[in-house]
Symmetry: C2
Subunit: 232 residues, 2 copies
DNA sequence: CGGTAAATGTGAGCGGTGCTCTCGCTTTAA
DNA sequence: TTAAAGCGAGAGCACCGCTCACATTTACCG
């Protein structure tokens, strides 16, 4: 069961490739990620990296999983600092962690949540689990708040139609949830709104000098979103 | 003052280049946009396109402006169908138009609102005006609703700090607005949330089969966002 | 009207990319 | 010990952005 030297070297090289790729991604973006450049920095001829990575897309997949896990770790870590019963604070910690990671790693964030690379379909079996870590946490927060009676009992603003209700039922069953449809609907909106706010800041959609303190703006938005989710 | 044939030919060629670029963008995405391919389709040798376009980035800028204007036209057109006093319906029309355009033109939408191309800074003097057409409409809707007394008078959820208040004052002055800070803050959130919802659908951030009728989900979100903005 | 300057298209060429293939060498496993 | 598998090197293909020197066409002006 012990690793042969060759196996150890392979793992080492793989992680070096991902590490170099991560660096190049940060500097040149996903479009500028070049296997030849990675090979150069690895000190090896260009064709040699194909022993480790089938093609450029596969390196992108590795970096995608790498990024999802880095973000997931940051979020989990932030949420775990909050007392178990304070769900609104947990939500704010989650949102703050997403924003902080995105601001610190804009290129990686862009790879995860930006425009998809055309012709590249992320392989679900590798990306689904790490790619759903944030929404899993958010769902947990809302579900536990609901079970603990810590969710404001809003009157439903609008009733989802029958098609949507079917989808919501499927989601509820798959994730073992007890929250009603309108809470689920609000949760999805809060989810997308959270990433919408982060996108705008990280992708520079606000003007260059519109907001001098985007962190403060985001805090304001987080509070509004916690309220929208019904967290008290 | 009348155009020479050469001038007419140049304009014609320019618009052909943009048109071909638009098509290639839709098929191959921004990263796959190739001046050589455009030249081939134009029936001209590759170096000839450089007589019309300084480099690839400049073609991207043209397509950016082209996309902003297409989206702006779609939004203006949709909003103009709504009676002048029904601001909530105008907002829903705006949101629906954004989504419809984005779903129909995902690659162009991605160029406008996806991850920025690293090393490419859109020239503000060309992109600012078309790039702000949607937010200009949204601001107009909220401002006019406010002046017409058609905005719910919410208690402010959270008070923006002094830095943010300064930014809001500047925005208010520059755009000649009369809405108070907390309305402005909500407006920004609604703005980002709207595009967050569209991003999630167009960029495929929901799972592949999570929602069978994303349009219905979006309608639900639009209603919630209109309510969040205070539109009645 | 004729000449000059600008605009336009051509083709070669440079350095870069992803990716494939063949060839040797080394490590592993039977 | 030997056969198989893994690995790196290097050449090569087709593509890319972009530049340059050159011919041709068009526009304008004395």
């Amino acid at each position: 069961m012990t690793q042969t030297p060759r196996e150890r070297a392979r793992l080492q090289t793989m992680s070096e490739i991902v590490s170099i790729g991560r660096k190049h991604l940060a500097v040149h973006g996903a479009a500028g990620l070049s296997l030849r450049a990675v090979a150069r920095e690895l000190g090896v001829v260009s064709s040699a990296v194909y022993r480790y990575v089938r093609n450029r897309d596969e390196l992108l997949t590795l970096l995608l999983v790498d990024g999802y896990n880095a973000l997931g770790d940051a979020v989990d870590n932030a949420v775990n600092q909050i007392p178990a019963g304070d769900f609104a604070a947990q939500f704010r910690a989650l949102g703050g962690a997403v924003r902080a990671w995105a601001v610190a790693e804009p290129a990686r964030y862009g790879l995860l949540f930006g425009s998809p690379v055309p012709g590249y379909e992320a392989p679900a079996e590798q990306t689904t689990v790490p790619g759903t870590r944030v929404i899993t946490q958010l769902v947990r927060i809302i579900e536990e708040a609901h079970r603990a009676g810590k969710l404001r009992a809003d009157e439903p603003l609008a009733v989802p139609g029958p098609g949507l209700a079917t989808d919501f039922s499927a989601i509820r069953q798959e994730l073992g949830l007890s929250v009603p449809d309108h809470v689920l609907a609000r949760g999805v909106l809060v989810w997308t709104a959270l990433f919408g706010a982060v996108n705008f800041e990280v992708f520079g959609q606000y003007g260059r000098e519109t907001f001098s303190d985007p962190a403060a703006l985001f805090e304001l938005h987080l509070a509004a979103l916690a309220d929208l989710a019904g967290l008290i």
